[in-house]
Symmetry: C2
Subunit: 439 residues, 2 copies
């Protein structure tokens, strides 16, 4: 009988702030980082991998939070985890003492999500399937059994979820065939970082269109005149047929968001992302009501299913982002995808950072095959950074993510990456020129 022997953690940081990659109105100098976790078994070569994503300082806090979950994992039979992915997640989320540190939000919830994701990675590896296929091959009953419906039943009951899943189950194999042939649409944020010059933005926007992307996204929120100029330049550059989204990264209050977005309304924005605090459900609803020409979205910082439920109930968003490493793992994202499908809200998964593309593609593809049944009216974010550190990196071709084929959740990093970027003792951080950035 296979046992879980350890939950090993690694504080891995990439000095991305040196190049201003990833700069936006709220995050001027991120060092993309991962609190990385390996769920080790006593079977040689069989481990589960996961991580929480952070942007530098505090990645040590995130790593210690994962360590605090070790007693829920060490010594368990493997079957207690991979044979009961719903019960396993509920044991972590239901730890009453740790729950106080959220509840179901922030550092502790992201730590729980990383460990839950590692368990799903392990389960998919054992099944010999990429995670999207592992989920897609579950029966509706199996999928629903992984979800915690606490606080959800006023919007979605288990029976409703089953009815929804059964309705699309018969046509799963057709969608698997389509997914394998076509991939899943991607959009790119690479042209739009605030630290870039107009010329660099335009060059990258042209390259994005040439590469097959149908949607690009620009960061906004530092200066309204700059934003108007950059959006118009981008529209001139890509022409009328490419969607342009903007992302304010929570920069504004509700009143500011309304005034600012009205200034941008003549550029034909595909969506305005994170116009204000991710906690402000009623604020997003007010912005959406007062700026009807701009679709409104949020979600990458939306901390759990209860908040997504309310965004949908309040009619606060036209579309939504999900993030694979912010909420309580695959289980909670399945709940969110079901809620989105029930309310008819399109999902444009958040990615970028380090490894977020690798993770979230599986969720979007499982959603297409087994939950919403849709992919042509939505797209996964793509940023072409840091994929070389993963053993099974994403493949984006002609503006689409190709379906991963290797077993698991694509979360495993190379051993050489862990050694080189481990903070603070890896060579990437110990060289004298690096130390100043490590404050």
């Amino acid at each position: 009988m296979t046992k879980i022997t350890a939950l090993d953690t690694y504080d891995v940081r990439f000095p991305t702030s040196r190049e201003l990659d990833g700069s936006d109105a709220m995050n001027p100098d991120p060092d993309y980082s991962a609190a990385y976790v390996v769920m080790r078994t006593d079977q040689p070569g069989l481990n589960g991998y996961g991580f929480a994503f952070t942007i530098g300082r505090g990645n040590d806090v995130q790593t210690v939070a994962i360590d605090a979950l070790a007693h829920h994992v060490q010594g368990l039979d493997l079957d207690d985890i991979v044979g009961d992915l719903g019960g396993f997640a509920q044991r972590l989320i239901g730890d009453s003492q740790l729950r106080w540190l959220g509840p179901e939000k922030g550092v502790m919830h992201m730590a729980i999500g990383a460990v839950i994701n590692a368990a799903w990675d392990l389960a998919a590896r054992m099944a010999g399937k990429p995670l999207w296929r592992f989920i897609a091959d579950m029966t509706p009953e199996q999928l629903v059994s992984t979800i915690d419906f606490r606080y959800l039943t006023d919007a979605l009951t288990p029976d409703e979820a089953l009815t929804m899943l059964h309705a699309v189950a018969a046509s799963k194999s057709q969608r698997i065939t389509r997914l394998l042939a076509e991939g899943y649409p991607a959009y790119t944020t690479s042209p739009g970082w605030l630290g870039y010059t107009d010329e660099k933005m335009q060059r990258l926007a042209r390259e994005a269109v040439t590469a097959g992307f149908r949607t690009i996204k620009l960061k906004v929120g530092m200066n309204v005149e700059d934003d108007v100029r950059r959006c118009r330049l981008a529209r001139e550059t890509v022409g009328p047929d490419i969607d342009i989204a903007v992302d304010a990264n929570q920069r504004w209050g509700v009143d500011d968001a309304i005034a600012w977005l009205q200034r941008l309304s003549d550029v034909r924005i595909a969506w305005a992302e994170e116009p204000t605090s991710p906690d402000d459900i009623l604020g997003h609803a007010a912005i959406r009501r007062d700026v009807p020409s701009v679709p409104i979205s949020t979600g990458e910082h939306t901390h759990n299913r209860v908040m997504f439920k309310q965004l949908f109930q309040a009619g606060a968003v036209d579309l939504v982002q999900i993030d694979a490493a912010r909420v309580g793992g695959v289980n909670e994202n399945l709940a969110i995808l079901l809620l989105a499908a029930k309310f008819g809200v399109r999902v444009f998964p958040h990615a970028g950072g380090v490894g977020l593309c690798e993770l979230v593609q599986h969720l979007a593809m499982a959603d297409f095959v087994a939950i919403s049944g849709k992919k042509d009216d939505r797209a996964i974010e793509f940023v072409d950074h840091l994929h070389e550190h993963f053993i099974d990196p994403v493949i984006v071709h002609n503006g689409c993510y190709l379906a991963p084929q290797s077993p698991g959740f694509s979360a495993q990093m190379h051993a050489s990456t862990l050694a080189h970027y481990r903070y603070p003792d890896g060579p990437a951080w110990c060289e004298p020129a690096s130390v100043a950035r490590a404050q």
Copy 2:
């Protein structure tokens, strides 16, 4: 010139689960704990004290999160903190890399709150005033300058806040006189823990009334028949003139809460606290709409001012709890108190745990003197546990908190407490009988 030399932290835990003190429907076995912080200066005897409250496991994570803030404090001139309490708080909350770990919620936000509270403690000590008086003696302009209005201006602008504060400023000294003479009303949760027998509950309820309390609170949510029986027994025990509140500690979904509270409506409940997820603003509004006979409240886990703003905007609560150690310190609680005053919502501060009574009394008293101007229609929770560990413990007499007289925020623990209860190496945890609880 006085400098801040260090931010020292201590993982302090009390083995309260051995006695079932503090047991409720969601927290069966809490070990009340503090991630305790000392902001040290180079002036002998002059330090600031603060803490985040947790219930056991994860207190190490909370402590490490406070450590992650040291670079914002070490080496600063004291004036940069105590002379600019608003700017200091904004520098902590605005650290873009650490902000990713919330934003403004969970472990990192509680850590920031602990450090901000230590700064206010230090400022009040230097002024030679208890914190409530230090706040009450601020001009309206000084008080407003400490508040971060980001994400608030659709509900409360700085100018509105100034107008509110000026309106009560002239009568401050009369209320100070009343506060010093009368104290501030308390209510007690001591009779109502779920782990207690009916007889113990009744005995403690009688003792509470004899001691002068006008409100008691019972924990509910494990079994509806038990709750109906215990509430009726309590009503028989205390008679018709004492208020009885109930607290479900987030046990229910929205539908369950409605059904359960309807069963309790004939006992005349003063308020039902935390009927569902603290994140579920629309859920609280639905419960309040569907159970009009029971006033609805939440707040002890409400993680920031944006959430309180929405509770008020949505009409989701009849009254609200605040917690001194959950949100971003004194500054954010001042914002919340101003919002509550503007929306006319009564505040019943959450306390208990370890040291929460000591802290929150200052905020309630400052609110009475300088913000809402009210105290007779509200009360501070009181639980008679663990006060002996504080140098300036609360004094509750005839059902009222007496106004603290010593300078500071009453947050300092005895050195002997830190030594004895320090986890995992203090004697309270190293004795063989204790080790089993420390899992």
